[in-house]
């Protein structure tokens, strides 16, 4: 069997030649590098984890429906990238976006209410799990067509460019999108027009059930992005500090007029593609191997080692989150359903009389 037939073992998937700035360790005296900051990162990742675990329960209990794609295992990516974004920046995301939405600061109550299809959801209950939207935080979905969000991100960035605004549009997509024509059209266009897009490729090694090497002739995705003339490098997506540092470096460059940047965030989903997926295409051993690199455990261990995480801190955070989640679920269950008479509302914008 050729080595390309299977995804490389986690140990071999460390960041491949990041630029010099990204290689430096996060210093404790940096504004983003305090113990309090790391505790916050831990909390955010745990929030996503607990939210997703709750979604499994609620889905299995028949309380939430549709296609639900979980982010468990990939939390370091959303949380790390979001550290580099300001409220003025924009996010375009995919159908596996609960983590992006929560990390962006869309209230958990609004995301949970969306799972329940209630009007109190962040999309008014219209979108469900795959279509989270929030104008307040400039969160432009929730796009469930693989690659379909990239042109939107290019257009949002084009607006900023034409308006002379110094903002970043972060566009998340998976390794599967790299096979789509829209990916190539958009990377070309973004470089050609020097648009402020931060392309965040979440390479979790599988496009649904198709392993990267079974779909891509060149599995080094950063190399492919670099061929369009933009700075691109791979990052260990299981290490939230590495992700944050790379994202800050890239976002600062994008914001400073450096044109689009591309991060290949090497990560792994611990659960199946969606709640429908029997997960027959991966070795259990492979999944277990990746789970040993759990981004939450990894950061917690690192902090404990540095004496930054007292024995009961994590448990206290967890207890808080459980309370928040219970509250969000209660609120979602009690939220109003949209009246059927509103079915066709917003097919078109309300007209001025």
């Amino acid at each position: 069997m050729s080595p390309r037939r299977r995804p490389a073992a986690p140990a071999a998937r460390q960041a491949a030649s990041p630029p010099a700035a990204a290689r430096q360790p996060v210093m404790h005296n940096e504004p983003g590098g305090s113990a309090a900051h790391r505790t916050d990162l831990l909390r955010q990742m745990l929030l996503i984890r607990r939210f997703e675990e709750k979604c499994v329960e609620l889905y299995s209990a028949g309380e939430i429906h549709g296609f639900v794609h979980l982010y468990i295992g990939e939390e370091a990516v959303a949380v790390g990238v979001n550290q580099a974004l300001t409220p003025d920046d924009a996010i375009v995301s995919t159908y596996r976006e609960h983590g992006h939405a929560l990390a962006r600061g869309i209230p958990m109550t609004a995301v949970m209410a969306e799972m329940y299809g209630r009007t109190t959801g962040c999309s008014g209950g219209r979108g469900g799990s795959m279509h989270l939207f929030d104008a307040q935080t400039r969160f432009y979905g929730g796009n469930a067509i693989v690659g379909g969000g990239l042109p939107l991100a290019v257009g949002i960035a084009l607006t900023d460019r034409m308006r002379g605004r110094s903002r970043v549009t972060a566009c998340f997509f998976g390794d599967g999108a790299v096979a789509e024509g829209e990916f190539h059209e958009c990377l070309n266009l973004a470089t050609l027009w020097q648009l402020p897009v931060l392309f965040c490729c979440e390479n979790n090694l599988y496009a649904m059930g198709t392993a990267l090497a079974r779909a891509q002739a060149q599995t080094d995705l950063a190399v492919r992005a670099a061929s369009y003339g933009m700075p691109a490098w791979a990052v260990d997506g299981m290490d939230v500090l590495a992700v944050e540092q790379a994202a800050r470096h890239a976002a600062d460059a994008v914001r400073g007029g450096g044109g689009p940047h591309f991060l290949e965030l090497r990560t792994y989903r611990f659960r199946a593609h969606s709640m429908y997926d029997p997960d027959r295409y991966r070795d259990k051993a492979e999944v277990e191997e990746w789970k040993r690199r759990d981004p939450i455990d990894a950061l917690a261990a690192r902090m404990r080692e540095a004496g930054e995480l007292a024995g009961d801190t994590l448990a206290a955070i967890d207890a808080d989150l459980t309370g928040e989640l219970t509250d969000a679920i209660d609120k979602a269950r009690g939220g109003p359903l949209e009246p059927v008479s509103d079915l066709t509302r917003f097919v078109y914008s309300p007209r001025q009389p």
């Binding site: 219209r126 979108g127 379909g148 042109p151 939107l152 084009l158 829209e182 059209e185 078109y348």
Partner: protein, 329 residues
């Protein structure tokens, strides 16, 4: 630039004047598409605009329909008022994902948070011997999609006036320009400006039969009406103008007067806009009809290259006249 003859304007020039006016009036407006700048537009609609407005606002794109149409959607939700030009409706299929899955759905799917004030212009239709990948009339497909507004300017006034109204619309508007119309010349009032994009209009009043059409076949329907007048059949000609949402009221009011309807549509017959209009007449004016609704559509073939076959494939005046005779009985 002037049209052929003193005081005359072409459809192409009317369109260009509309784009120019919009660019001058609203700094958020920009034009983007393949060869819209240096080349001047593949049908020369935007000729000269690059020199006037510069490459930021007259933006040449690579041959990446999905990316630049989607970028138009992103720019629209970002606050701009983009006009995206696609060379032909056949090429627009490369951007269908963006048009269908984003432009048409974002407002509803986001619970009303993100509207898409985007205008997409494209050429449609046959008649220029450009064969089976540049000649089809697929606007009927787009009329299937809730969330889009579809318009088809068939006159100089509409070529001049529909764009501004489309740009003011908060939702995506697709403008279908029939390729045979660009050289059409006539006198356009100096104060010609914005027109509504809601209603159908009667282009020729008549009492015996209603010919319902739009875009490139309006001229043929009017010629047919002229011929029918010679046979003492007074045909009323309706230009639908807006293909989605359809102006049922104007159509039904006419059919209730004439009791007969012929629909002329350059699209293929099966699953066509003509089928939709016909169904609506059955639903809303069945008891006013004195004859079955007739349809004159394109033959169900990929458009052939040779002129005689292309002509045979398209709705022509004799077929419209014959269908009207049939209806009148």
């Amino acid at each position: 630039m002037t049209g052929s003859g003193p005081g005359k304007t072409t459809y192409r020039e009317a369109m260009r004047a509309a784009i120019r006016e919009a660019m001058l009036a609203d700094e958020r407006v920009f034009l983007m598409g393949e060869d819209v700048g240096r080349y001047g537009g593949c049908f020369a609609v935007s000729l000269g605009l690059l020199e006037e407005f510069g490459p930021e606002r007259i933006r040449d794109t690579p041959l990446s329909e999905s990316a630049f149409v989607g970028a138009g959607i992103g720019a629209a939700i970002g606050g701009m008022r983009p006009i995206v030009e696609i060379m032909t409706v056949n090429f627009s299929l490369l951007a269908l994902d963006q048009i269908m899955n984003n432009a048409a759905t974002l407002l509803h799917m986001s619970g009303g948070q993100f509207s898409v004030p985007l205008v997409i212009r494209m050429t449609t239709g046959a008649g220029r011997q450009v064969a089976a990948q540049h000649s089809h009339s697929l606007e009927g497909w787009y009329t299937h999609i809730p969330g889009l507004r579809i318009v088809a300017p068939a006159t100089l006034e509409d070529a001049r006036g529909m764009l501004w109204t489309a740009l003011a619309d908060p939702d995506p508007v697709l403008i279908f320009e029939h390729g045979s119309l660009y050289n059409m010349a006539g006198v356009l009032a100096p104060d010609a400006g914005a027109v509504d994009i809601d209603s159908a209009v009667i282009r020729r009043p008549g009492t015996d039969v209603t010919l319902i059409t739009y875009g490139g076949t309006l001229g043929k329907a009017l010629d047919a009406a002229e011929a029918l007048a010679g046979e003492q059949i007074q045909a009323e000609v309706i230009d639908l103008r807006t293909l989605r949402p359809l102006d049922d009221e104007t159509v039904m009011a006419s059919v209730r007067r004439t009791h007969r309807a012929v629909i002329v549509d350059e699209g293929w017959r099966s699953g066509s806009l003509a089928a939709e209009v016909s169904a609506r007449i059955m639903e809303q004016a069945f008891y006013d009809l004195d004859a079955p609704v007739e349809r004159v559509c394109s033959a169900e073939v990929p458009m052939p290259y040779p002129r005689h076959l292309e002509e045979a494939a398209l709705p022509q005046v004799p077929a419209i006249v014959e269908a009207a005779r049939q209806a009148v009985g």
